[in-house]
Symmetry: C3
Subunit: 154 residues, 3 copies
């Protein structure tokens, strides 16, 4: 157990744990929020709104499929950003980087994720979301580059 104690007393690893947990909790609440939103929308869906897409039965079908697509895309965006961050970030934080550099990476990533969520929920005009996405993308790439530079073994 002395072993694990040392691992968790490592500050970079503690910082990674905290930020990763925050991002994952955010993702979990996003998925619940969208599920509730879907339920609410189903009950209060305004049939007039779909009249422009087609007629009668057709209209309702279109509405549901498009709506579901949007929800699926949101979940996927979150998962797409977070899976590489978790994988690369864990390995990066175990490769013994500077505390300040690592903190900078984690903080920018969590910042862009929260910004992305706000931009999605408000919703802000499109360029905000793209910026947030590429911010997180850049942080993950930078960690991957540092990791591969110091520890490449193929």
């Amino acid at each position: 157990m002395a072993d694990l104690k040392q691992l968790m007393d490592n500050e970079v690893f503690m910082a990674f744990s905290s930020y990763a947990t925050i991002v994952l909790i955010k993702m979990m609440f996003m998925s619940t929020a969208t599920a509730f939103q879907r339920l609410t929308n189903k009950f209060f869906a305004n049939p007039e709104d779909c009249a422009s897409f087609g007629k009668g039965e057709n209209a309702k079908k279109y509405l549901q499929t498009e709506e579901k697509m949007e929800l699926v895309r949101t979940h996927l965006n979150d998962i797409e950003n977070i899976v590489p961050f978790l994988g690369i970030g864990l390995l990066y934080s175990l490769s013994g980087p500077d505390l300040s550099t690592a903190l900078l990476h984690f903080r920018i990533f969590v910042g862009t994720q929260i910004y992305h969520t706000i931009a999605y929920l408000t919703p802000l005009p499109q360029l905000n979301r793209a910026l947030a996405f590429f911010g997180g993308f850049g942080v993950t790439l930078s960690m991957a580059y540092r990791l591969l530079k110091s520890r490449l073994y193929l």
Copy 2:
């Protein structure tokens, strides 16, 4: 290597490894099962079943899109539950919790996942699936809370 031996002799970590592997194998088989189901459905699709949605060509299109949506949703549900469990569970099991508390968390999570799959495949009426989902959700949140309480470093 003495180092890694100590890590893998840690009982909490061994338990996490076993349960995480079981959940991941279940997820892999679910994705194969749904792929086979899709193939089978394509060959044996009953055109009478879709007559209620529209006519001729339209009917088939609706059917396929809706069917694919359902499959995509199932995969996403699995991934949405398992990614936070993997991330938070790994960090939690490295933070040195009690063995009995950790085992309780892992067992309930794996139980809810298997219950969710059974509820999905049988299929049981809807409240079962929601219960299973929120069971897993609660376990992950509880681990996240314990992790952040003992090791917050921002």
Copy 3:
């Protein structure tokens, strides 16, 4: 810190870090590539191509939904393969396997992933993609089996 140094000097873990990072970077670029492809397709979509599916407004709707479905499926395929590999691979590489066996697993997995991407982008006829998928599937199952055999604790 002496502790982490030992972990990162472990050759199996270094190899896993390198291969996992490569697979994750590939996944990130795939998601960006498909996003750009979507933008391009939207601007240059040929309305004649959709005439066979329906008429007027209907035609466009079908096209978009089907197109989006395809993109969502690609992302999901990637994520479905990579999440179990990351989880099981990490635990496997910490369980102290032979270096040569572990390298064999990692290399075959990365190989099948790259083959899958080439088969998807070219596109090669279908059996290639299925072969690549089941190659990666087999590698992950083999790692899971070895892991559970040596360290089962329920």
